[in-house]
Amino acid sequence: MTERDDRDDVDERVIAPLRRARLEVDDIHAARMAVGIEAGLDAPAAAPARPPGRLLGVASVCALAAAAAVAVIAMRGAAQRTAHVPRPVELAPYVYVGPGAESARLSPAARLSVPVGAKLRASAGTAVRLTLVGPGAVAASTVDGATELVLEGGLLLVDFDHNADGKLRVRAPGAVVTAVGTLFAVDASDGRTRVAVMRGVIDVDVAAGRRRLVGASAWAPGDGEAGAGPIPPVLAAALVEHDVSPSPPVGDYVVVDERSLGDPPLVARVASGSRVARNRPAARAVDQAPPLTAPPEAPVPVPAPPLTRAPEMNAPAPPPTPVSEAEALYVAAEAQMRAGANEQARATLRELVARHGGDPRSEAALLDLARLSLAVGAAADARRFLARMPDPTRDRALVEPARHLRCRVHVAAGDMAAAATCLRSFRGQHPSSPHDAEVLAQLAAITDDCDRARPLLDEYLRRYPTGSFAAQATQRQRQCRP
């Protein structure tokens, strides 16, 4: 390669993407940093010049500094003016960990953020319970007695107890949602805001005015004067799942030291303001939300801590441990599969399952056996192998692929009713799955009823306009036009 080629390579693969990156600061971000700066400037002069983060954690200083946030928002001409000084509110995230399905509250924070595919549940006071689906972040404060959630991105599912005192508002890009006691969702996952209410009433304030939505309906400010439509099935499933999920535990919270969770992490990061994240161990945790069918009081047992990475993260394998026979068998089976010796691989995997049924690797073996069976058209065999796996699997990395494979087996077996149920449930449980485009396409394709297919087709074309099913979806959409 010549020097000129090298130059072009760096230009194209390093410089150009960085130049394309959007580097603007939004008002919320600017306001939050202003809080930190004001707090820094107000800190006692005796404090050391730096290490970083010397300044935060002092509640009184933060309260003073919050005024700066208001000033910043006002000066930048933010669409939603805050007339009164907001006070931070603690969001109390919680997870379900341990073989006994114990629940744990994590260190409370004023802001929660979750990466792609992650999900975190939290409560704000006694009246608000939320689920945040990443990538996204939400911060909380009170203004004039109302709890205010600032949704910076992601999908937020909220239930709000209208019998409790106070109001609840959610500020999202381009809209402010006021809840009047309800179960609702605000989706700001792709830069646009969409709202849906399943139960109760919400008011949505946008630049053009106020819009009232009653359950069960959905609307996007971008739709303008268009009427509210039905809640997309996936979102409805997510709302139901949120609704039936366990309530936050009571008692003392636990602080999870991020170092115990490995690097690179993570499924969820809890950071109280940008500075605090650096000043104390940030609590990081995986939300083990139960599947839709689980009763609220019975959170699903999951592996004990330390909490591991989400499958979506494609994180590297954990440090090597002494090789067990089960592991050796699995490694052998993997090598056989790579070499295309599937019959041998099947025999090895069967041996693993037979001899080490209690080993976590037996789940992976069953999944591989099901895959191999499906690949040769033996859907019934695949179903039998999958039936031997718990749902969710003990190994979290297998939960999503196993559920996806179950749906594929139904499709392959021609059991379309079961497939539709499975695919819908899958989308509710794994809204950020890498298989989502395929699943949504399958779901739309097997839904004969135009009324039910239309929202699926719309969603597919909105989310995956260049997807492989786009042409078919457009054609079907035309056929299904009312």
């Binding site: 390579d9 693969r13 410089i15 960085l18 130049r19 580097l23 202003a34 910043v72 990466p115 972040a137």
Partner: protein, 215 residues
């Protein structure tokens, strides 16, 4: 070549413009801020925030500490106001502090052998085009993550010189003044950074080819 130069100029001008909105008024605001007027300092913060934030993002990446560092810059600026005599533009003063803060951070990271800081997914997502399809956004996010991982491998001085000159299109003389080095030294750092990046990209390609061939 033409369009590349235009892009370079646009990026550089954007950085400078953002820093110099109402540049003449900075003087009055600085004077008031030096006298303890917080409102004037807030105005200065708003004027220069976009530029500092953008540059800090390029310099350290969309990592968890980035916002902290931006805050640190403005705290340092405020504390250094008494030393600002107005010989240079206020924006230059601010950016010199930005670069010092970024350099210290990068050096600390390097010393602690922690070069591969995890990138913040949310911040990464903010950097990609809004309104694009989820697939495009995911691809852009992944591309940027790769870019920042490459930059993280550079020595702090090389990274800073590369960002200022190669990415932002800053003239060598101006970059040299900002980092407090000779023009030729900055030029050499940019070249070294390019070479290092090029070698890393080639290594990555070879590894990918091997993986592809093996799988």
């Amino acid at each position: 070549m033409g369009s590349g130069a235009v892009t370079v100029a646009r990026v550089h001008n954007a950085v400078r413009d953002a820093a110099a909105i109402g540049g003449g008024d900075d003087v009055a605001l600085v004077a008031a801020a030096r006298a303890g007027d917080r409102r004037s300092f807030r105005e200065l913060y708003l004027r220069h925030l976009d530029a500092v934030y953008g540059r800090m993002t390029r310099l350290v990446g969309p990592v968890a500490e980035r916002d902290d560092l931006v805050q640190q810059v403005f705290i340092d600026v405020y504390q250094a106001l008494p030393r600002f005599r107005g010989d240079a533009r206020f924006s230059t003063f601010v950016h010199r502090i930005s670069i010092n803060v970024a350099f210290e951070h990068l050096r600390r990271r390097r010393r602690s052998n922690d070069r591969n800081q995890p990138l913040d997914d949310i911040e990464l997502d903010r950097l990609v085009a809004a309104g694009a399809s989820p697939e495009v956004r995911a691809a852009d996010r992944e591309e940027l993550a790769r870019v920042f991982r490459q930059l993280a491998a550079l020595k702090p001085k090389l990274r800073i010189a590369f960002v200022l000159v190669a990415i932002e299109g800053m003239p060598l003389a101006e970059a040299a003044e900002l980092v407090g080095a000779e023009r030729d030294a900055v030029k050499q750092r940019v070249l070294n950074a390019r070479r290092a990046l090029s070698e890393r990209l080639a290594r990555l390609d070879r590894a990918a080819a091997r993986a592809g061939g093996g799988g």
